[in-house]
């Protein structure tokens, strides 16, 4: 197994508002290998975006990574000072966000913004950068790139804006690209195009892609491995095919909508399974406990130890630990 490109270890992220403090991420561990597409999947509120922002160190002011480390190219990203981190951003790790039109400077033309990335990361002159920018826009699938480069963000459609952002990322040539729900709000056909583009670029450049999404369908199409995140905790991590065929964690099963096999150890508690409980941030154990049909005593007490079911397939669940399934 190759040395991972990025390894997140036991990451804990606290966010304080004026009254209290919440651990939005608690013991998040996963890794991304070189030249792969890794998925990070979870529902709304699970902490996916926060994870990405923590890796990029672009957190909102009230958030603090209090535990854990993020290993990248031999450094712990959490311990880097701001100017060192700035060297990393863009040139080593880059990120594209949801809502692409809001992510572009409304007062700068599209081509200028790509050109700026080029000047920053490839040391081109302004004139060269402008020319290359048009090339990159074309490469990102924008037809009529010459005139589109002169357009302002509000004149672009969502799909085109996302392509501009992708072009900016191309300019940076990062080793790791993080894409946070890159197609939310875009038409289905455009979605497919964007994903095709992303896959193409990943294959071409050999960069790794960490794809953050709530959509399992996308994961099955695009990703090679996937980690499942719920309420700020990693529940399971496996190659995509393995996860879909042999889901282990109750939450994953639920996500996949598969029928649960009643275990000898636990009995199905239907009332709990139906509950629309909110995220239980105070539970020191497994945060899925208040929605889990197989919940055990231990689930309320401590976080489950990781259990390796196969090479590359790890699950964090007391049920699986005990049952030995």
């Amino acid at each position: 197994m190759a040395e991972p490109l990025l390894r997140v270890e036991s990451l804990r992220l606290d966010i304080a508002d004026h009254e209290s403090s919440r651990s939005v991420l608690l013991d998040v561990s996963f890794d991304v290998r070189p030249n792969e597409v890794m998925g990070l999947v979870g529902e709304s509120g699970s902490g996916k975006t926060m994870t990405a922002l923590t890796i990029m160190r672009l957190l909102p002011p009230a958030a603090r990574a209090s535990e854990g480390r993020i290993a990248f190219e031999g450094e712990d990203l959490l311990r880097l000072n701001e100017s060192a981190m700035r060297q990393v951003r863009g040139s080593k790790i880059a990120m594209i966000f949801q809502n692409p039109r809001a992510a572009l400077n409304p007062l700068m033309r599209a081509g200028e913004q790509v050109a700026r990335a080029l000047m920053l990361h490839r040391g081109l002159t302004a004139a060269e950068a402008r020319r290359q920018a048009v090339e990159l826009l074309r490469h990102a699938g924008i037809s009529d790139a010459e005139s589109r480069a002169r357009a302002y963000p509000h004149q672009l459609s969502g799909g085109m804006a996302q392509r501009v952002l992708i072009a900016m990322m191309l300019a940076c040539r990062p080793a790791l690209l993080i894409a946070d729900e890159p197609t939310t709000g875009l038409d289905v056909t455009i979605q497919a195009q964007i994903f095709d583009l992303i896959k193409e670029i990943q294959a071409e450049t050999g960069a790794s892609l960490l794809l953050i999404t709530h959509d399992l369908g996308v994961v099955s199409e695009v990703c090679q491995r996937v980690a499942v995140l719920y309420a700020g905790q990693i529940m399971e991590q496996a190659p995509v095919a393995e996860l879909f065929h042999h889901p282990s964690h109750p939450y994953t099963e639920r996500l996949l909508g598969s029928i649960l096999r009643v275990d000898q150890v636990a009995e199905l508690d239907t009332s709990r399974a139906i509950a629309f409980a909110s995220i239980d941030y105070d539970n020191p154990g497994c945060r899925f406990a208040n929605r889990c049909p197989y919940v055990l005593e231990a689930c309320w007490v401590r976080r489950p130890e990781p259990r390796w079911l196969a090479e590359d397939h790890v699950v964090f669940c007391h049920l699986r630990n005990e049952a030995g399934t």
């Binding site: 990029m56 672009l58 909102p60 002011p61 701001e82 700035r86 060297q87 990393v88 951003r89 863009g90 040139s91 880059a94 990120m95 966000f97 809502n99 809001a102 992510a103 572009l104 400077n105 409304p106 007062l107 700068m108 700026r116 990335a117 920053l120 990361h121 302002y152 509000h154 004149q155 952002l165 900016m168 990322m169 940076c172």
Partner: protein
């Protein structure tokens, strides 16, 4: 360009309507409210005959719509009437004193803008730090100022105690001749005429009132710059810039400030209102011969024509300035310029 053209025409249209409304409003104020303007003009010692004479002269015996017609006609031809005190055309008298006010107001405005925007940006970038606290304190203090009192305080400190400023007696020391008239701004004119000692004297008299005015006017500038910058610094596109590794200073200037500047620009119009109002008070304290002092004199002797002229002029300037700002705003923001 048609989008911008539509925007332009609509804004100009609104301004014209507003000015028309202002004209009507001022007419109502000066012709309906006072019980008898002619009596006021004739003064407390007048007899009925004098009052009647003025009534006829002022057309007060005519029906109201005729009076308004005359008024509207005069306004449109740029005639603001004659001062009841001096008999001179009000427009001319205002015109003579306008440069003094401009000199003071423009200087104060520039200082307030530079200081205010800088402090606001710093406060936003270093939000939460002591810099931010200090700047916010400055803004709160400035906003709560009684300009007339502050002016007195500054004069006492800098003139009476420290002797760093001359006596607050108009724009030049008594005995110093005015520079040859070009713009009416003594500082500019004396430079143009190479009268450097006059220039220094003019600056010497200018700095204190300008600084006092600037301090008070800078408070809203600071507040709005800070607010606008904070909003912008939290925007998605700023995050993108950071995510591709753009250095902090570039992010602040190219991304944040350029975008924050648009709302700041609209704020300039509001600030200008404070400036004009503040000018009246400062001109009184420093005996500065500008239109503010003119208005004050006119008010005390009930020279309605002069007051009316002043008020109309202020409204025109204010509405005009806001219009220019709206147009500039429309031009700078590609979302409006191009649609």
């Amino acid at each position: 360009m048609p989008h911008f053209l539509r925007y332009l025409l609509r804004r100009i249209g609104l301004a014209v309507i507003t000015l028309a409304g202002v004209a009507v409003f001022v007419f109502l104020l000066t012709h309906i409210l006072p019980s008898n303007p002619a009596a006021l003009r004739a003064g407390p010692l007048a007899d009925a005959e004098l009052i009647h004479k003025y009534e006829r002269e002022m057309g007060l015996d005519q029906p109201i719509y005729v009076q308004f017609g005359r008024y509207a006609q005069e306004l449109l031809s740029g005639n603001l009437g004659e001062s009841w005190k001096t008999g001179q055309p009000v427009l001319q008298e205002l015109g003579e004193r306008l440069p003094a006010t401009i000199e003071l107001a423009a200087t104060a405005f520039l200082i307030a803008l530079v200081v205010g925007v800088t402090l606001g940006v710093l406060a936003a970038v270093y939000a939460g730090s002591w810099i931010d606290q200090g700047v916010r304190l400055y803004a709160t203090l400035g906003a709560a100022q009684a300009l007339f009192w502050l002016a007195l305080l500054m004069v006492h400190v800098f003139y009476y105690t420290l002797d760093w400023a001359p006596a607050p007696l108009d724009r030049l020391t008594i005995g110093v001749a005015e520079p040859p008239l070009v713009t009416g701004l003594f500082t500019v004119d004396s430079l143009l005429a190479r009268q450097f000692s006059t220039f220094l004297d003019a600056v010497n008299h200018l700095w204190l009132p300008a600084v006092v005015l600037a301090f008070v006017v800078s408070a809203p500038v600071v507040k709005m710059t800070r607010g606008s910058m904070l909003d912008t610094l939290n925007a998605d596109f700023v995050r993108t810039a950071k995510a591709i590794g753009v250095p902090q200073r570039s992010v602040v200037v190219r991304d944040a400030l350029r975008n924050a500047f648009i709302p700041i620009l609209t704020m300039v119009g509001i600030v200008f209102g404070y400036l004009i109002a503040g000018n009246v008070v400062v001109e009184k304290v420093f005996s500065w011969a500008g239109i503010g002092q003119y208005a004050w004199n006119a008010l005390t002797i009930n020279d309605f024509n002069a007051v009316q002229g002043f008020v109309l002029l202020i409204a025109v300037i204010y509405v005009g300035l806001n219009l220019v700002i709206d147009l500039a705003y429309g031009f700078l923001d590609p979302r409006i310029r191009l649609g």
